[in-house]
Symmetry: C2
Subunit: 336 residues, 2 copies
């Protein structure tokens, strides 16, 4: 297997991508193609030891910036790292693409080059959300601004398969994010989606509310991409804000500082449990190969986990299982 890693688009520069790729390749034995300005990447590589990693470099002189217009940039920069990486997948030269760059551009390049799975109307970004007891998967995390009920059903089908690949849990529970537990609570979208999910054959446990997410009430939680993106970013902000406040309050006296120092390993553990880097980025589910979106601020550990997540997703056959599930669902509901 070969993973094409867009090594030029992350906020922290190509070094962390090279380091993450080296570690992931050495550990898994799979090949990683670093895609970006050749001289830069080879320069970094020459200062590193391979330690058994299988690394190649594929030249892509251009980069799409974080603030560029995604669709326009993808059209205007055919030699940018993310477009070249997606083309490798499209030509069969790689099995998966990983990018810490402009999320919209990664999506646009994936849709253009790798294309949608037949029967999936809207690919979705599936976000691993840490919970008190492990991890839930929230989707759509922002691939789509508007959704229709059948899109939410497709998110659920895809999310359940990815959740199994991530955790080993079979037949994971699926919840529909809404504003009350009763099926009739919500907006037009959730009320209709509820009916579709009830007859989906999935392990649907009904509506879940915002407060249920951090407690892992459902393994897979579906919502439209606007709501998902707001929740995902709010969680990020609230985690940071709470730890900022704790740090500030602990700084107020020597006794508090002493207590904080003694209790420090507990905070480190909580932060680790809340750290979404552990789950290696968010897949764009519904494209015909594997696209793994890493955070723009990914460090080498996050890149390492994202490459490993891409490899695991390919090995588990997530894409093929989604293709089969969509066909199966279409046959069942058409009465064939």
């Amino acid at each position: 297997m070969r993973v094409a890693l867009d090594a030029a688009s992350g906020d922290l520069g190509p070094e962390v991508c090279v380091d993450g790729a080296l570690r992931a390749s050495a550990e898994t034995g799979e090949e990683v193609a670093l895609v970006g300005p050749k001289a830069v990447l080879e320069g970094i590589l020459s200062a590193r030891s391979l330690d058994g990693a299988r690394i190649t470099v594929v030249d892509a002189p251009d980069v799409i910036g974080m603030n560029e217009h995604p669709a326009k940039a993808v059209r205007q920069k055919p030699r940018s790292s993310v477009v070249v990486a997606c083309e490798m997948v499209s030509r069969g030269e790689a099995d998966a693409v990983v990018s810490p760059g402009n999320t919209g551009a990664t999506m646009a390049a994936s849709l253009l080059k790798i294309q949608r799975i037949k029967g999936i109307d809207r690919p979705a970004i599936a976000i691993p959300m840490p919970t008190v007891s492990g991890v839930s998967l929230l989707l759509d995390g922002g691939a789509n601004a508007e959704s229709r009920p059948q899109h939410l059903l497709q998110f659920a089908l895809m999310g359940a398969i990815y959740y199994s690949s991530l955790t080993g849990v079979e037949n994971p529970t699926v919840g529909l994010l809404s504003v009350g537990e009763e099926p009739e609570k919500g907006n037009d979208l959730t009320i209709e989606a509820h009916k579709l999910l009830l007859s989906s054959g999935l392990n649907f446990i009904g509506n879940v509310e915002g407060r249920d997410i951090p407690f892992g009430k459902a393994n897979v939680i579906v919502c439209d991409g606007f709501v998902g993106n707001v929740v995902l970013k709010f969680a990020e902000g609230m985690g940071r804000a709470l730890f900022d406040m704790i740090r500030e309050e602990i700084g107020r006296s020597l006794i508090l500082k002493l207590g904080g120092a003694l209790a420090r390993p507990a905070f480190v553990n909580v932060k680790r449990r809340m750290d979404d880097r552990e789950y290696g980025g968010a897949p764009l589910l519904g494209v015909n190969k594997v696209t793994m979106i890493a955070h723009g601020s990914s460090d080498s550990k996050a890149i390492y986990n994202a490459v490993k997540a891409a490899i695991r997703t390919k090995q588990y056959g997530v894409t093929e299982q989604i293709q089969a599930a969509v066909q199966d669902y279409a046959q069942r509901t058409s009465g064939v």
Copy 2:
């Protein structure tokens, strides 16, 4: 001034309502009418000392339960505490209603008895959200499942006035909750609402994202009631989940427990800063008097703060200012 307190519908029973009312009345000098089963309320009162509080009891033998269908229950139970309290306001026998009961029933009774302000299409629940630096106001917190762009504009007009009454801040900043900072990022609703807000005369700072909420980037944040309700409940769940995890991790060894004990005042302070009970419930803005919705699990401190918030809202003239602002906006935009 007289506040009608629905003293029968909260999760914790009438005692906490009586205690909260006594304290708020004694402190402000304003009268509180306790609405609920007369014998029960008088029994509780007879065991308390008034300490200068001005308390009356208004009989309402029925109660609407938390899980009853709001509109149906309001129709079928004309002698329930929340309906009787709203009727007092409607007849001019009280200036404000406060209820810790079924939120939907409080809304339905308010809309039926107190009615909407002319020019406000959809009343909204305005939620005080604690931030690292103080408080922001998020609305709509769930009064409406679907919104149109002009509703979000009205939420902003109303929210800015209430925010000033809550904090003393004049001309507060208004943000539109979306999935990116650029005006064109978002869904159809936010893209259109952005345009309306730009020409509203409000102190509009543009789109804000989920991660900006806990840092107080805008004083007033508007969104549709579905998104607002999800965010509000997610914040509640995430706060609880994080403190649960910290407690669990600190319990793992004696040293950690010692550190936790020494640092305990810091945690207490963070919890106090995150405690939405400090802000006294959430007003239903856009009705013709004052309706203050308290949390179902309100204790006597939360009821005390909710009654005080209702008094402050009336004293500040929030309703009258909203009436004037809506008329002013209508005149400006009709070109008169």
